[in-house]
């Protein structure tokens, strides 16, 4: 059945609604770190921060890949064909990239603190 983009956003919003407060706290913390970095000394060690954020993102991707079937009350035996494996890999990749971007400012901050 046809579905508009606004419907898709509404469905995404309703699925995230139960996690509203944890997500809000996470985003506020993220924002606080970004502001702290923006107001801090230059140059920022962005590359060294990324070197730390990348493995964190990779770990998140591996965790999602390993745990997603169990979180959905299934197991790897339930996955069948490119559709399921592709979906799982896309989900893991998406989670990994998201975590990497979230971790990057923290990693930069950590590098700065240790410099």
């Amino acid at each position: 059945m046809n579905m508009s983009l606004s419907s898709l956003f509404a469905i995404l919003f309703e699925n995230l609604r139960p996690f509203f407060w944890p997500l809000a706290v996470l985003l506020l913390l993220e924002l606080a770190v970004l502001i702290r970095l923006w107001m801090g000394p230059r140059p920022l060690p962005l590359r060294r921060g990324l070197a730390l954020a990348l493995p964190i993102g990779a770990l998140a991707a591996i965790a999602v890949f390993a745990l997603a079937p169990a979180i959905t009350q299934a197991d790897f035996g339930a996955l069948s064909g490119w559709l399921d494996w592709g979906f799982l890999m896309m989900m893991a990749l998406g989670a990994g990239v998201l975590v990497m971007f979230l971790a990057w400012p923290w990693a930069v901050w950590w590098r700065l603190a240790r410099a």
């Binding site: 059945m1 046809n2 579905m3 508009s4 983009l5 606004s6 419907s7 898709l8 509404a10 469905i11 995404l12 919003f13 309703e14 699925n15 995230l16 609604r17 079937p69 959905t72 009350q73 299934a74 197991d75 035996g77 339930a78 996955l79 069948s80 064909g81 559709l83 399921d84 979906f87 799982l88």
Partner: protein
Amino acid sequence: MWALGPLAGWDRAEARLKTSARIVIAGAGAAGIALANRLSRALEGASITIVDARERHLYQPGLTLVANGYWSSEKVIDRNERFLPSTVRWVKAAVAEFDPDANRIVTEQGEAIPYDFLCVATGLKVDYASVEGMEAGLIGRNGIACVYDNPEHAGRSWEAIRAFAEKGGKAIFTRPPGGIKCAGAPLKMAMLVEDRLRREGARDRAHFHYAVAGKGLFSQPEINEFLKKHFPERGIDIHWEHRLVAIDPARKIASFATPAGRVEMDYDLIHVVPKMRAPDALANSPLAWQSGEFADDGRWLEVDRHTLRHPRYPNVFGAGDCVGTPIGKTAATVKAHVPVVVKNLLAAIADREGEGRFNGYTSYPLLIGRGRAILVEFDYELKMVPSFSFISPYEIHWLPWVMKEKLLHGAYEAVLRGRA
């Protein structure tokens, strides 16, 4: 593939229609609440009243997961109050009478509520009395399960299923004639219980039987053919034209009406699916079908199958399980019904011809076992109408299970809020 339409839905793209019309919505289930939300956003100055005594809102698509131990009952219980817009008046009473000739409904407390337009969304009644010896209080006792109606029944069914999984024996799953809520649920129950026993290494201790009142397992022909092969492959014996007519809980005997006469079968677990029909107030009103298959079946609400408008009372519309149309008493159908009713109701208020057309869309994530499902979507013509071109409706996958287990509850709430 989902057609990605404009960013704004039609309801936000169009200006609000000014009217002083009195609109009454009978029923605060999924269809009633979705109608209330969409109408309150689309209309300015209208008086919208929703009439229902129920304070709880039940996410009924989750009941099969509750009845098989995958979800707790709490996960499917919410409050209607949380979804109803503040501009809508909520009369907390059951509808006792529909009086379309006088353009009013009467509540059980005797309050008469007049209307200019009526939306009937009462849902349906599970008619336990259609099976002699059956009553709702028996669910969970003496090996009796029934996934329908509420999470308490589903939770008690899970207790009966768990006890059966420990001991094994003979399990019978039944399917009555006529229209029922989520026609895939009896099939899902049989397959999920069979899958559980297989996983627990207890499959060889159990015999599975599926007793169906008609000559098919599913209305969509290709899925019907698939299931006719799939059930025997899993050792589920199909008994055609076996209509459950009586149950003796003390002796654990079920009686079936068949073309060869009455047949008795003993059981250790039975999933009873009683006949379903329109609630009494609707069934006994002039709004119900007066003749034909939908009158004989469950005295469902008479509507034009495409416009969802009553042919004899043009200021009456219907949505959800109570309407007498050929297929689809599912939440997915509600999602498709509601925009059509709103579109045609707005046109009626503006004294225009409504352009909303319902194509019969219905959808079932047919759960084959833990973690595996088929996403089945079809229309009045029984043609597959997949929302996602990359998900085959003929293949068993994990992805439709993920949708059922994790995503559809959010989609359902978006429908309730009139946003999807």
